[in-house]
């Protein structure tokens, strides 16, 4: 079993602040800001976010099996329960981006508790700001452009359908290697 954060206190704080900057500024690509060795099938950025935020209160769903060494690593270090249904997950990790078709089965929260929704972390083959995906909304001064390698356009179109349900919604974090970029529920996405 790989170790987790070198410093529980300072590494989790650093990762959280990088993630907060990403969540407050959708489309801004952030580095996790620490060194972390994560198991084979998860990017260090995904591992770092989950180590920083998961605990016994936060069911985690993933397309990786519960007994995979990746999930066992996360569960060993955080104590998070494994959610067998997407609907029950507060955090979800999708490593197979080809299989990602929609956010439908994840939990969008309720009108009175829109915060009890899934935060979905998705692996990509790379992220940069030279793409055709145009983001607008809170946290973005005018607009922001993004390339999410490996993410299907049909997925982004399907996600756009859910915008009318605001304040309900699933918050997305795309990761690659040490990098992360967020598209929270308030962000409008168009593909130019």
């Amino acid at each position: 079993m790989l170790k987790g954060f070198a410093s529980e206190v300072f590494d989790s704080q650093k990762v959280f602040r990088q993630l907060l900057a990403a969540m407050a500024n959708p489309g801004r690509i952030m580095d996790i800001g620490i060194d972390l060795e994560s198991p084979e099938f998860i990017h260090p950025a995904a591992g770092a976010i989950l180590l920083a935020l998961l605990d016994f209160e936060t069911p985690l769903w993933s397309d990786l099996e519960n007994d995979s060494k990746e999930i066992q690593w996360l569960r060993f270090h955080t104590g998070a329960p494994y959610a067998y249904a997407k609907r029950n997950a507060l955090f979800a990790l999708q490593t197979d981006y080809d299989a990602l078709e929609s956010v439908d089965q994840f939990n969008p929260g309720t009108l009175e508790a829109p915060h009890q929704s899934t935060t979905l972390i998705v692996h990509t083959r790379g992220v940069d700001n030279n793409g055709r995906i145009r983001l607008t909304g809170p946290g973005i001064q005018t607009d922001k452009f993004l390339k999410l390698k490996g993410i299907k356009e049909s997925f982004l179109h399907q996600r756009t359908q859910t915008l009318k349900d605001y304040p309900l919604g699933v918050d997305l974090i795309f990761v690659w290697d040490h990098y992360l970029v967020s598209i929270p529920r308030t962000t409008s996405v168009e593909i130019l």
């Binding site: 529980e8 300072f10 907060l20 969540m23 309720t110 915060h115 809170p138 973005i140 918050d171 308030t186």
Partner: protein
């Protein structure tokens, strides 16, 4: 035997829980996220919400500024700075430009904020609808269905009675066109600073156990009517110390005869203007 605290006082599980709430608050601007507020070593009403936010945000490299009604050196600000000096050993500043995190009780600094800064607000009453409908379950439903008509009735009643909207602080705002939010008891003079601000703003209510937030570049509109638009307070006087005429002024009684002077509420801004010799 010396007493050792965890960095920034709170234990790591509490920080995780608060951090998750901050992230959801940022994703749903203006929505009050309930959180498992912890007991802090000071009474409610002294900034327990703000302190829990700051404790969850702080890292070794942060530079913290704390203000109380615009002042860096009043009891609440000094106590909170001492608290974090003791438990986190971080750098403390009075200079607004140097701060990465600014915890505030009821003011936004006059110095323009930067995109790197995080404002943390101490909030006594997070629910803007509380004085209209005291039941929390009802408040939740009103927010859920954007049922904000009664808020406008309250503003209308003000106009009928006083010929103006009679709220000078904690003036409600509409965030991102969805939630009505209390900006905390900042003077309405500061409300426009929230609109399309380049910094992020996080609000914490310790007693009520709520966290809410405004991301950068988000619409924050003070409630008003077409024929009674939102207006800022103005003063005939300028600051008696630095001469500024664009700042929020406090009125201070200086003797038993009722002699008065007006001075900047933001003490750091005031002293900087004075040092620049603008007077």
């Amino acid at each position: 035997m010396s007493l050792q605290y965890n960095f920034a006082y709170l234990d790591e599980q509490s920080k995780k829980m608060i951090r998750r709430s901050i992230l959801k608050a940022m994703a749903i601007p203006g929505f009050q996220v309930p959180f498992g507020g912890r007991e802090m070593p000071l009474p409610y009403g002294w900034g327990t919400g703000g302190i829990q936010l700051t404790a969850s945000l702080l890292g070794k490299e942060d530079c913290l500024k704390v203000i109380d009604q615009g002042s860096d050196d009043t009891t609440n600000a000094v106590s909170i700075k001492d608290f974090f000096k003791k438990t986190a050993r971080i750098e403390i500043t009075e200079n607004t430009e140097d701060a990465t995190i600014i915890q505030t009780r009821h003011r936004i600094p006059e110095t323009p904020l930067t995109p790197q800064q995080i404002m943390v607000y101490q909030v006594p009453i997070p629910e803007p609808l509380q004085f209209i409908e005291p039941k929390r379950q009802e408040n939740a439903k009103m927010h859920a269905f954007s049922e904000y008509g009664t808020m406008y009735v309250k503003l209308y009643e003000d106009i009928a009675r006083h010929e103006r909207i009679a709220m000078a602080f904690d003036y409600p705002v509409h965030v991102n066109g969805r939630y009505i939010m209390s900006p905390s008891p900042i003077p309405k003079f500061d409300n426009p600073k929230l609109h399309q601000s380049c910094a992020m703003h996080i609000f914490g209510a310790g007693r009520e156990k709520r966290i809410y937030a405004v991301p950068p570049y988000t619409d924050v509109v003070s409630l008003d009517f077409e024929d009674y638009p939102f207006e800022l307070e103005e003063w005939d006087e300028s600051c008696a110390i630095c001469g500024s005429d664009q700042t929020f002024l406090d009125e201070i009684i200086t003797d038993d005869e009722g002699t008065r002077m007006f001075v900047c509420s933001d003490t750091e801004f005031c002293s900087r203007v004075r040092q620049k010799g603008k007077r």
